[in-house]
């Protein structure tokens, strides 16, 4: 479900089915979470590129998860919504994180984009707001990234943003000229020229800033949103 490779101080995490993350698959969630946490602890990694092997980074529809892959509320909290869950692990990683997005990006995909430090997009990328159905998605990050009015327009307007618009509002840092993954890796290698301690210090400084802005409190609200959002994709029997 997840491939992890490290080369030249850059880790590449490849997802094979983002829709499973949107459906809160136990196996997909655990694999991605473990990969992110493992990279965070490795001294030979300075930057992480997260990509999808599929044409869509993460399609809008959720996958059908087999019964033995479904999780209960405590597991959902642990794997997806806790301080060591996927999104907080990515947001507060000690490494610089880059999402390389092509095709459709929705639900878990958009939540991952918001939590990553930088985002590279292919020209065909389109970004759907994740907040209506994904309780772990962090609206404060969206407001900090693209400003409040644009974040509200994104989530209430219903229409996805194309890559050009996402660049204009600051959700995306670059639109790739050709190969979005290659360009993301190039940026990661450039970032990896900096000292490991300096990167870690910058990430800590950013964490301090994010928490001063309420990002951590918003993550803590996931359980509440899961219980109250009519279309929430989290397990019904919540912790």
């Amino acid at each position: 479900m997840i491939d992890l490779g490290v080369s030249g101080q850059v880790a590449v995490i490849t997802m094979h089915d983002g829709a499973c993350l949107s459906a809160h698959s136990r196996r997909a969630g655990t694999a991605l979470r473990d990969a992110i946490l493992a990279c965070g602890d490795r001294d030979d990694v300075k930057a992480i590129v997260l990509r999808s092997a599929q044409a869509d980074f993460c399609p809008p529809a959720q996958a059908i998860v087999p019964d033995d892959d479904k999780l209960d509320a405590p597991e959902w909290s642990q794997i997806y919504a806790s301080t060591v869950g996927i999104y907080q692990a990515l947001c507060y990683s000690k490494k610089v994180t880059i999402t390389a997005v092509q095709g459709r990006c929705a639900l878990a995909g958009s939540a991952l984009v918001l939590c990553s430090d930088l985002t590279f997009a292919a020209a065909d990328a389109e970004f759907h707001a994740p907040f209506e159905r994904l309780p772990e998605a962090n609206f404060v990050l969206a407001a900090l990234t693209m400003r409040l009015a644009r974040a509200k327009s994104w989530t209430l307007g219903g229409a996805p943003m194309d890559a050009r618009r996402a660049l204009e509002v600051g959700l995306v840092n670059r639109i790739a000229l050709s190969d979005v993954f290659a360009e993301a890796v190039d940026a990661a290698r450039s970032i990896a020229k900096g000292p490991l301690d300096g990167i870690a210090m910058s990430k800590l400084m950013m964490e301090s800033f994010l928490d001063s802005q309420g990002v951590g409190q918003e993550f803590d609200m996931a359980g509440f949103y899961a219980a109250t959002l009519p279309g929430a994709a989290a397990p019904q029997d919540r912790a």
Binding site: L118, N173, S190, G194, P195, S202, M206, S208, F209, S212
Partner: protein, 284 residues
């Protein structure tokens, strides 16, 4: 040590300019100049006739940032000179000059006069911070904004104003990736209020200052207090305090094999050679 902060009152009693005057080092700001800058601000703040303070650089640049000559001399004196490590107290005192309660950036941010930065040429490091902390920034088409020192040793400054101005992911381009923004990019990201042709920059800055100087003094004071309250809610004070701490730690980080240590290179090869080697190391 050369370099000075000059105060220019030639534009009339309502507008004063603080000029960063160290062109032989691209207007790099020494610790002494940072202190002079604060003294100049104090004098202008006490002058009730002054409504607008313009911050500009002499020659081709606003500033290339903190003067690395002074930094290298303090933290990595050439071989043969005193080698006693600088105390943590001294490191905090150095960072305080920029980020402390009475430091340069806080003084600009909380200045009761209207502050305008005339950004041209290199606006690196402190230059970018001045554009952030002043009320308004008007850029020449030649202006280039970057935080090169953050690639060498990580973030040593406040992030709250940067993210508020340009957005989170764009701020991270500067924080982690060391990108340089030209004037048009800075304008589209919200870092500056206007971009004008370089031959119009002085005149456009003077026109903006004149326009601001028409606002009633009490209105200026009231609006600045409103902004100050908003900044408090945005946790900017927390960001400045964190910057003062991390700025001091930044001179203490450990470099691993293969990583470029500017101060060590400066100690062995001289500052100019070290800067050149750093540029080569980080070139894409």
């Amino acid at each position: 040590m050369s370099g000075r902060i000059a105060v220019d009152r030639s534009a009339g009693e309502r507008t004063a300019s603080i000029v960063i005057d160290h062109p032989e080092r691209e207007n790099a700001i020494t610790p002494r100049m940072a202190a002079q800058f604060c003294e100049a601000l104090t004098a202008l703040e006490r002058d009730d006739a002054v409504k607008v303070v313009v911050i500009k650089g002499a020659g081709a640049n606003l500033t290339s940032g903190a003067d690395l000559t002074a930094v290298a001399q303090r933290f990595a004196p050439p071989d043969g000179e005193a080698k006693k490590p600088l105390s943590q107290r001294a490191r905090f005192a150095d960072a305080d000059l920029w980020w402390g309660r009475a430091g340069l950036f806080g003084r600009v941010l909380y200045c009761p006069k209207i502050t305008i930065v005339a950004a041209h040429g290199k606006c690196h490091g402190a230059g970018l911070h001045l554009a952030l902390y002043a009320d308004l920034a008007i850029a020449s088409a030649t202006a280039a904004f970057a935080m090169p020192e953050w690639r060498h040793a990580g973030v040593n400054g406040d992030l709250s104003m940067l993210v508020a101005a340009v957005g989170l992911k764009r701020a991270k381009e500067l924080v982690y990736w060391g990108r340089e923004w030209d004037a048009a990019t800075a304008m589209s990201h919200g870092l500056v209020n206007a971009v004008v042709a370089s031959d119009r920059h002085d005149a456009a800055t003077a026109e903006l200052a004149q326009c601001c100087a028409m606002i009633m003094r009490d209105a200026v004071a009231a609006e600045k207090q409103v902004v100050r309250a908003a900044l408090a809610r945005m946790q900017v004070e927390t960001g400045l305090a964190a910057a003062a701490v991390v700025g001091a730690w930044g001179t203490n980080i450990h470099f691993r094999q293969g990583e470029f240590n500017l101060l060590r290179a400066a100690k062995h090869d001289g500052l100019d050679a070290a800067v050149a080697a750093g540029a080569e190391h980080f070139a894409d």
